[in-house]
């Protein structure tokens, strides 16, 4: 029996081994970021972001509130927005829908990185909206009164730095705590470490009495999380170092999350 030649055969198929073309990751990465954002903005979760934004304004912002007050509230609110958004996005990623994406030439690390960036961008958007809303609502145009003295572009730019770094810290921490990225052992270890670090600020209430002296010797590792906020109002050495350390923590967590996600098996719901 004579075999008919196949109709279509790409050149690599007839070769000894087909060439595996490496594709540059950045284009795929940005497509994933865009897709994740589009998907998120089509869900009802985006109303949660809006509700937080409006609620924070309604509860905490007043006319001519000070620079420290504004950035303090924004810092906490943006970190909250980032954490929630990131958790929601990773929860959505941890579904069988992701199989079809990851079956493409998409590495787990790039997918995780895209989700982290998308969550951070949502938090950034929430912060920008909040700041613009604040500017407009308390503006001369609406209130008939001039803006506060601190409301200059420079102050906004400098004050936004710790807010955005804090949001990045938040998304990376949530990524480390998400099922999609890490194993349950890593998540448990991370949460234990966080608890110990938080309790080391004041070891007197630590449940295990024998460990209290040990905790007292732990340096305040999480202090930069609070210290960085100072950068919004005063750019002194302590604030600058705190902000840099917070950025360092963020970077470290990001790297750990990307590495761990690459080794994690994919068992989706």
């Amino acid at each position: 029996m004579e075999a008919t030649a196949p109709q279509t055969l790409s050149a690599p198929q007839a070769e000894q081994a087909p060439a595996i073309k490496s594709r540059s990751n950045p284009p795929v990465f940005w497509k994933l970021v865009r897709f994740t954002l589009r998907d998120y903005f089509r869900t009802a979760w985006v109303f949660l972001n809006l509700a937080i934004l409006v609620g924070v304004h309604a509860l905490f912002f007043k006319y001519k509130s000070g620079q420290g007050h504004f950035f303090g509230i924004e810092y906490a609110a943006t970190i909250l927005q980032a954490a929630l958004t990131c958790a929601i996005m990773f929860s959505r990623s941890n579904r069988a829908e992701s199989y079809a994406i990851l079956a493409r030439q998409v590495s787990r690390a790039s997918y995780v990185g895209a989700v982290i960036l998308a969550a951070w961008l949502v938090a950034l958007l929430a912060y920008v909206l909040s700041a613009v809303f604040d500017l407009i609502y308390f503006s001369e145009w609406v209130m008939g009164q001039p803006l506060a003295d601190w409301q200059t572009p420079t102050n906004y730019a400098l004050g936004s730095l710790p807010v955005l770094v804090g949001a990045a810290f938040s998304v990376c921490l949530v990524a480390l705590l998400s099922t999609f990225v890490t194993t349950s052992a890593v998540r448990l270890g991370t949460m234990t470490l966080l608890a110990v670090l938080v309790m080391s600020f004041d070891a007197r209430n630590f449940p295990f009495e024998g460990a209290r002296p040990l905790l007292q010797n732990i340096p305040p590792v999480l202090a930069p999380l609070a210290g960085a906020l100072k950068f919004a109002t005063e750019q002194d050495n302590v604030a600058t170092v705190s902000l840099a350390m917070l950025g360092g923590y963020t970077l470290l967590m990001l790297i750990i999350a990307l590495i761990l996600s690459g080794t994690r098996e994919l068992v989706l719901d």
């Binding site: 029996m1 008919t4 109709q7 790409s10 007839a14 000894q16 589009r38 994919l266």
Partner: protein, 500 residues
């Protein structure tokens, strides 16, 4: 460097532990899906094991996926099929063994050449089918414009053009399945992916949808794709697959080709002085076709059982049958029975998933048992000769006696397949699968240019080329078959006339 038409190289069995047979060139189904099996295997799965919390999901699974074939992966629920597919795609990591796709172990890189349809086709429901396909096409490397045109074409191909702009969450299960097929097959561009990994592609589809899926798969195959199909639908698998592997309890318990499952079984007994010709007769018969199976005939009291492949996909099957009968009669043996035995996939499947001894019931950790593969004896390139129990078994022994010449022959250790024996003799009660080793190393293919049909055509002459060329010695007294008024006897006479 292999060319598209060069014979498929057969890798050493030691490398995989499983008998990987050269792929056939016959056409199957639709009459147009031609296999292109040249070149190295698309996927090499070697002794892969996987456990989930101490429970073995896969145990030493080894097989190769040859280029251009449609390979069916079967097995009961929980057999490890989906786990194997996820290992193949790199979603899971094997505990032992290696998986190579396109010659590389970097499975993510290999994804550029793979289309995947998951078992449950769930896609981001907030997107329309068109948007999602465009996104998938962009991920596959197409430009924005190409992605748009590809999405339109793909939606048309799978019959979703009317629902193209609807959100996926409003799709029915069948529509999602079709969208999944479009993502797997068409999202890469004009040519389908080199490897399609499809987990239950026809699940949830109406009959017309199943037919459409079949057509898509055969079309993809025609266009050069290799397909790994995981399915419970034996009829569909039988129609389109050229080879199947059956998993049971995490083990690959059968690996067989579906081209050649019909066989003619001839039973003969020696007449006076006929037994003296037995060695020559057996030598002659085993050279009729690479897939000939011979049992018994080595002691006078035991009948000789000859099993020949037949069917429309076996070239010159009738001539081969006639030649065999003539040889038997000329060697002074009587044909006492002749029947055609058909084995469908269902019987192969049921035989493979039937628990062997007590081991199937025991869900033990993977490392407690060696991998075990059952090779279906009807493999076309696997001559098998069996001797009376008095003969010493030269290699492996299996526990279960053969129920029929085309019974499933379990192999306790896959490595035995590498034994370079042209043909082996085993006791009749102990079926053995052997791989004939020819001069060019290809199992059962001494001369790549010689098709089985050629072999059968020239069988009665001494000018055959093959692993062992032992022509039937001339018989001084040609023996005519005894007068027989039975239909079988008439048929034999007719055949003799045809044969001569």
């Amino acid at each position: 460097m292999q060319t598209a038409n060069s014979p498929a190289p057969v890798e050493p069995a030691e490398s995989t532990g499983v008998d990987i047979l050269p792929a056939p060139t016959e056409q199957r189904d639709a009459g147009s899906a031609t296999e292109n099996t040249s070149g190295p295997p698309i996927a090499q799965i070697e002794r892969v094991s996987k456990q989930f919390r101490g429970v073995a999901a896969l145990r030493g699974v080894s097989f190769n996926l040859e280029r251009g074939e449609i390979f069916g992966l079967l097995g009961p629920n929980g057999a490890g099929k989906s786990t194997l597919l996820k290992l193949l795609l790199g979603f899971l990591h094997s505990d032992a063994g290696t998986i190579k796709l396109f010659g590389t172990t970097d499975l993510t890189k290999a994804h550029a050449h793979i289309g995947y349809l998951p078992e449950q086709p769930r896609y981001h429901g907030n997107f329309s089918g068109r948007e999602y396909l465009e996104f998938q096409a962009r991920l596959a490397g197409l430009s924005g414009r190409d992605a748009k045109s590809m999405a339109a074409r793909a939606l048309q191909q799978v019959g979703l053009e009317e629902a193209a702009n609807r959100r996926i969450r409003t799709y029915s299960k069948g529509m999602r399945q079709r969208l999944g097929l479009a993502v797997a097959v068409y999202a890469s561009g004009d040519t389908p992916p080199e490897l399609l990994v499809l987990d239950e592609p026809a699940s949830g589809l109406a009959p017309e949808g199943q037919i459409a899926v079949r057509e898509v798969l055969l079309d993809s195959k025609r266009r050069g794709s290799t397909i790994l199909l995981c399915s419970h639908q034996l009829t569909e698998v039988e129609r389109i697959c050229s080879r199947v592997g059956i998993l049971r309890g995490g083990r690959l318990v059968a690996l067989t080709r579906l081209d050649d499952q019909s066989r003619v079984v001839i039973v003969a007994t020696p007449r006076p002085r006929g037994f003296e010709m037995a060695p020559h007769l057996i030598e002659y018969l085993k050279n009729l076709h690479p897939a000939v199976i011979i049992k018994g005939g080595l002691i006078e009291s035991e009948p000789l059982m000859l099993s020949l492949p037949t069917g429309s996909d076996v070239p010159h099957a009738a001539s081969m049958k006639a030649a065999a009968i003539r040889a038997i009669v000329d060697a002074r043996w009587d044909v006492v029975s002749l029947h055609v035995e058909n084995r469908d996939l269902e019987s192969i499947y049921m035989q493979a998933v039937r628990p062997l001894r007590k081991e199937a019931a025991a869900e033990t950790p993977a490392d407690s048992k060696p991998p075990e593969v059952v090779e279906v004896a009807a493999e076309p390139t696997t001559p098998r000769i069996e001797a009376p129990p008095s003969e010493p078994a030269s290699t492996d022994v299996v526990a279960e006696p053969l129920a029929s010449p085309v019974d499933v022959a379990p192999i306790s250790e896959p490595a035995v397949l590498a034994q370079p024996e042209p043909a082996e003799v085993v006791p009749a009660s102990q079926p053995l699968l052997v791989r004939p080793v020819s001069t060019n190393g290809a199992a059962g293919a001494a001369n790549p240019a010689t098709t089985p049909g050629d072999t059968a055509e020239t069988a009665p002459t001494a000018s055959r080329s093959g692993p062992s060329t032992a022509p039937l010695p001339p018989l001084s007294e040609p023996v005519e078959p005894q007068a027989d008024t039975s239909p079988q006897g008439n048929w034999l006479r007719d055949l003799r006339r045809e044969g001569s």
